[in-house]
């Protein structure tokens, strides 16, 4: 039996993408927080240290740290290591600009907390143009 949960939110960057979810409750740092060559989180005390978001639907509270955030995620697009989509809660200039230049579908301002609904490994379809996220739990795939 397959059950799908639907989440609604606001488009940050348009487009449609799907992929496996990578979820963290830690904010993500760009410059000094990721290695754009591999899309890996490198921040020393981050819960996803050593894990790559390349091709994943990255679900996280928001951005922190250096103003190099957008440039580092810009590089992930050019190097082919960008996330498939980004879903986040807290809007800042770092993440807005970073999402724009990554050019992957991105959404925020959800009707429910994506960090509570989505778990790493779930299959997530993001339609940022329509403002809809469909979540299929890992156990149901």
């Amino acid at each position: 039996m397959t059950s799908t949960t639907v989440l609604r939110g606001r488009k940050v960057v348009g487009g449609v993408a799907e992929g496996e979810a990578l979820v963290t409750r830690d904010r993500v740092s760009g410059w000094g927080g990721i290695d754009p060559r591999t899309g890996t989180i490198i921040e020393t005390r981050h819960e996803l240290r050593g894990v790559s978001f390349a091709g994943k639907v990255l679900v996280f509270p928001g951005a922190k740290g250096s103003s190099g955030w957008s440039n580092q995620f810009h590089l992930t697009r050019l190097l082919g290591t960008a996330p498939a989509a980004m879903l986040f809660n807290d809007m800042t200039t770092k993440i807005a600009l970073g999402a724009v230049v990554t050019r992957a579908p991105a959404m925020t301002d959800f009707d429910q907390d994506p960090l509570g609904l989505i778990e790493t490994g779930d299959w997530v379809k993001v339609d940022a143009d329509r403002g809809v996220v469909e979540i299929t739990k890992r156990g149901n795939r």
């Binding site: 250096s66 103003s67 200039t93």
Partner: protein, 431 residues
């Protein structure tokens, strides 16, 4: 987003392709934010440099510095000719010190390419300050001035200490701002977002630069991207912190968290009282800071270090000002850096010139240390060969360097660091 006639004309190509692309990016960015309009700015701090091998190769293959600017400053797939900056623009730090290429292990061809790029930058009317601390070399925004600054440690200083108004911009948005004189009117450009969110009550006096670094690191991790309001012990700051202390405090708070603005009640310009600092907001949380919290911050900052033999000591994150160089010289004069250890100190070029004039560069060099400019180890990924253990007097650098370079890092006072440089051993501890 609503554009006025002038902005719409820029978007429609009145001022050429590059300006039209810049306006297109500002609209995409503004809509992503949920901004309603743009605001005029005549103070941009950003970077247009190509100081990594990747960027140099990109430039060589795609059509020079205009190609770098088109992709990395305008998010354009198409290479366009870039006109000079329309508004006052200051260049931030680089990927190396072009006069220390050999010591930093930078290939000659990368240096030569940079020198070409430097002429491009100056030729486009961008001030070659080459520092993360533009406010230390003459770019000091006035209260209420709308700015478009990159560099998290400079942004927090601009907003909090100077009362200038900027969000943490990025390479692309500052590129668009320098060609248009516009930036989204969002976040810290607006009065209502500048009020405090968290109340921080200090249970101890915080005086030295080291102590301000610990405090900033602790608070940043708790408040993340919100606006802390700090009240000194007994309701006032008995010792008013100076530039270097608030520079370190802000750099730390914007590393462990994303703090872009804070208030010190009775000290910073938008917080003469607690009521003024919070405006209509009520504190979402009250945080106390005393010896236990200080200990915790120190432990986190030293969590990567175990080996007491120190290979490398770096000072100058954010870039040292002349007061700090003078202090370092007093600690260093008459001593020698240990044969197994290197000491590099980073400062803006303009302050290096003053240090040369004052004789400080000679004191540093006579001790076997080096005064460098334009960059730092985290930006350049350059350290003395074989470095496994570093010692730092910057909480920001202790946060980033182990992640970026895979080294152990000790965090301590400037005196601890200079002792480590001269003895080759880390003896710092939380006194």
């Amino acid at each position: 987003m609503r554009l006025n006639d002038d902005e719409q004309a820029m978007r429609d190509g009145r001022d050429g392709d590059a300006v039209a692309l810049a306006m297109d990016l500002l609209v995409r960015y503004g809509e992503a934010l949920g901004a309603e309009r743009l605001v005029d700015t005549n103070n941009v701090c950003g970077t247009v440099s190509a100081t990594t091998p990747f960027m140099r190769d990109y430039a060589v293959q795609k059509g020079g510095m205009d190609a770098v600017f088109s992709e990395f400053n305008l998010d354009s797939d198409r290479v366009v000719e870039i006109p000079p900056a329309k508004v006052y623009t200051t260049h931030l730090q680089l990927g190396f010190d072009p006069r220390q290429g050999e010591r930093m292990g930078i290939a000659d061809e990368v240096i030569r390419f940079y020198q070409k790029g430097e002429a491009y930058t100056a030729g486009h009317g961008i001030q070659l300050a080459n520092t993360c601390t533009p406010y230390q070399v003459g770019n000091v925004p006035t209260r209420g001035e709308h700015c478009a600054w990159m560099e998290s440690s400079a942004v927090i200083y601009c907003n909090s200490v100077l009362g200038g108004r900027t969000n943490t911009e990025g390479r692309e948005s500052t590129g668009a701002a320098m060609l248009t004189g516009k930036i989204p009117d969002w976040g810290y450009h607006l009065d209502e977002n500048r009020f405090g969110s968290h109340l921080v009550e200090l249970d101890m006096e915080v005086e030295s630069t080291f102590e301000w670094g610990l405090l900033g690191y602790h608070i940043g991790e708790i408040v993340q991207e919100r606006v802390p309001v700090l009240v000194g012990r007994g309701g006032r700051f008995a010792k008013v912190p100076n530039l270097q202390r608030l520079k370190h405090f802000g750099a730390a708070a914007s590393s462990s968290g994303g703090v872009e603005m804070y208030h010190l009640v009775g000290v910073t310009p938008e917080a003469m009282t607690v009521e003024q600092a919070f405006g209509r907001n009520r504190p979402v949380q009250t945080i106390r800071y005393g010896l236990a919290e200080r200990q915790l911050a120190w432990e986190k900052l030293n969590s990567t270090a175990t080996d007491h033999q120190v290979d490398y000591v770096m000072l100058g994150c954010p870039h040292y000002n002349i007061e700090q160089i003078w202090e370092a010289c007093k600690l260093l004069e008459g001593r020698k850096v240990h044969t197994n250890t290197a000491l590099w100190i980073f400062t803006p070029r303009a302050i290096k010139a003053l240090a040369d004039q004052n004789g400080y560069t000679k004191i540093i060099e006579d001790a076997g240390a080096v005064l460098m400019s334009d960059s730092c180890s985290a930006m350049s990924r350059a350290m003395p060969p074989g470095t496994k253990v570093a010692a730092l007097d910057s909480a920001k650098h202790a946060h980033y360097l182990p992640a970026i370079m895979g080294v152990q890092a000790w965090f301590g006072t400037t005196a601890d660091c200079i002792d480590a440089a001269c003895t080759g051993r880390w003896n710092g501890r939380l006194a």
